[in-house]
Amino acid sequence: MNMPVYDERPFDKSETAVIHDGQKQLVHDPPEIRGPDGSPAQSVDRGDQVWTWSADEHLTGFAVWREMIWEIYSYRELLGQLVLRDIRIRYKQAIMGFAWALLMPLLIVAAGCLVKIALAHASGGNVDLPRVAGMSIKALGWAFFAGSIGFAANSLVSNMALVTKVYFPRELFPFSAVITQWIDTCVGGGFLLVLLAFFANISISVEWLWAVPVVLLLVAMTTTVALLFSCANVFFRDVKYIVQIVLTFGIFFTPVFYEPELFGPHGSFIMMLNPLSPILEALRLAIIEKHNLLLPVITEGHDGLRFTTWHIGFLIYSAVISLGGFLWAWRYFHKMEFVFAEYV
């Protein structure tokens, strides 16, 4: 059998230096596309720009961001279709249909109640309803985080056929995973609020407005981790086991079933270093405790020591990490997405 012999000589960069001058080749006035007989070709999409595709990324600074955002915007319909696909698949074969979305928060709340009752027994106190309510809000937040990550981490690998055959921004996969989970969470959240209003007498208050920025931070945080894990999973196949471990044990290192103040002054501070903790705590404080997040919360420990368990600084810390992380992770993902097809 005669195997072709490839010339292994590395390609001399200087040979190609003449080709691109380092300028972004956005030609704003494309010549009109015409048929061979001179008539205008049908359906020329004026929205599509002239694009160039070269060895090096020739965009820098804000131009990259403009391109990234523009790409997602122009593929928004595909994003919608992918979300629709994932939702349909999730509920199509399930016997319970949309009740499935309610099961997950219910289970977590049930598990949390169990933990709370056990704790109450151990310390000889009573199970207090606001604590259970606060825990269920945090559990819902955690369920959103964990569900999105678990789903997003495999999103690129399981769509291998698409990644190697069709072009579109690959961000759509982790994004659609997060959005799908978000829709699920909204259904579960609505259900949970009805339950809370009924059993725990939770009513609407002005402090609920805090939930809006806090939820945005939660989404940013989740998307950051989703982008990074889905990308890493393409290059290293054992990442999915790491993801499983992180999701299984992460709940113990995040104050979901307990409050950080249980750990005393130093412990609670260390607990808050997990960037997810302030976000979940803020959700609980704003929705259940109706606390203005700008004001600190000072708790008295068992030994009579008073210490700060909530400070707006915690939330700022989380905001910096999740928003900064989101921008960095998206940029990094965008840079790497062009080699996905070679690795998947």
């Binding site: 590395p10 390609f11 596309i33 015409r34 048929g35 061979p36 070709a41 999409d45 595709w53 080699v339």
Partner: protein, 411 residues
């Protein structure tokens, strides 16, 4: 006005060969090993799938890309489709480019036909408003009407392929890049796809078409590139390039000669079959303007019987195009009734087979008694178009064969 809508300059693509780290577990020892090795050894792991490829495509032009497997055709397409980033060089595209590398990639088996049409259209870059407008056309083209709300996992593979192509066929890009999508489905479906491709090309759209189907290439393309080991080795009109490609491919492809090992005790034995040009050289490459000569050598061991030697001409996909035999004219079996060695020649007329590859099978029999031998695919030969096709010629070379039919006006 002629201007290029696709410009490719010095495109190169390097791939990693051999060791790559699939798991984090392998990464650490692998990195240590790499550090110990010299730079020169590390370069061995890369090979160039494409090297310094430059071409441009004008608006309204249909460009074909041919080449053996591994020549880099798919890499070019994937770079055009922005799936792969080039290692060197640059390309520029003016207008809406859509690549059909696989048409059913976006299908999800659990979703219904209707849902999949929307999903796949979105994946191929169609606007939802367009899909809604053309939805009925798509369903009609695919012919899946009654099964629209059935999950596609229950579809037959033919329906699946039809649905895929139906969605793709209703894209209206300025530049269409097509890989071997036509290779799926039955002959009727392929004909439908080719027809659609011809329509697209006829509307003045630009098409870049990669195929192993030389007949399709010759019928559709205005210009063809021949890739070999990642470089363009030939560029020009289809006839010329296809001939060059076939000549190269056949140098290690089918041979024009085959020795049959029939039982020598048979009443008639065929020992050898050859394909010849008209001046007697063994060749497997024929221009359409020349006759194909098939030569059969053998021995008649028992005389006076009515032997028939028949040749089956099949297309590469196994379709029996026709059978021709030594019994064609009355009394012609007499050419085989004498005892002793014989050499027969069969002439396939010129301007009859359309461009493409054909396989020859042989049947040796006695009329009304039995078959002594029946073999498929003993030799193969290729026919190419040797004069450029013009508009009116394209009409005549659409089918598998182009017999000379007489026409007259009687009223």
């Amino acid at each position: 006005m002629v201007f290029p809508v696709v410009e490719v300059e010095h495109l190169g693509k390097k791939f990693r060969r051999g060791e790559s780290f699939d798991t984090l577990r392998d990464l650490i020892p692998g990195t240590l090993r790499r550090l110990r090795q010299s730079d020169s050894r590390r370069e061995d792991r890369w090979f160039w799938a494409l090297r310094d490829v430059s071409f441009s495509v004008n608006a309204g032009e249909v460009l074909g890309i041919v080449g053996a497997n591994g020549a880099g055709k798919s890499t070019v397409l994937k770079i055009l489709a922005r799936i792969l980033r080039p290692t060197t060089g640059r390309l520029m595209v003016r207008g809406r480019l859509r690549a059909l590398i696989e048409i059913a990639a976006g299908f999800h088996p659990d979703l219904t036909g209707r849902e999949n049409i929307y999903l796949n259209a979105a994946i191929l870059g169609m606007k939802m408003s367009e899909v809604r407008k053309r939805f009925d056309d798509i369903v009609e083209f695919a012919g899946i009407g009654p099964f629209l709300d059935t999950p596609v996992k229950r579809y037959s593979s033919g329906m699946f392929a039809r649905l895929g192509f139906a969605v793709a066929a209703h894209l209206e890009p300025d530049i269409l890049v097509v890989d071997e999508v036509l290779a799926v489905g039955d002959a009727a479906f392929q004909a439908k796809c080719l027809g659609k491709m011809r329509d697209v090309a006829g509307q003045g759209r630009t098409v870049i078409f990669v195929s192993h189907n030389m007949r399709a290439i010759q019928q559709l393309c205005h210009r063809v590139l021949l890739l070999e080991r990642g470089s363009i080795v030939r560029e020009g009109p289809p006839t010329e390039v296809v001939e060059a490609y076939l000549a190269r491919a056949l140098s290690h492809g089918a041979s024009g000669e085959c020795s049959l090992s029939m039982d020598p005790a048979m009443p008639i034995v065929v020992s050898r079959v050859r394909v010849l040009s008209e001046n007697g050289d063994i060749t497997t490459l024929f221009p359409r303007s020349e006759r194909v000569v098939l030569e059969i050598e053998g021995t008649v061991n028992e005389g006076g019987r009515r032997y028939i030697v028949a040749l089956d001409i099949r297309t590469i996909d196994g379709l029996l195009l026709f059978r021709t035999h030594s019994f064609e004219q009355p009394e012609s079996y007499r050419i085989l009734d004498k005892k002793g060695p014989f050499v027969l020649r069969c002439y396939i007329p010129s301007e009859f087979l359309s461009a493409g590859r054909y396989e020859v099978g042989i049947v040796v029999a006695e009329r009304g008694v039995c078959e002594f031998e029946n073999r498929h695919r003993i030799i193969a030969f290729d026919v190419f178009q040797d004069h450029p096709l013009r508009g009116s010629d394209i009409m005549t070379t659409v089918g598998l064969v182009t017999p000379h039919c007489d026409w007259e006006r009687i009223r």
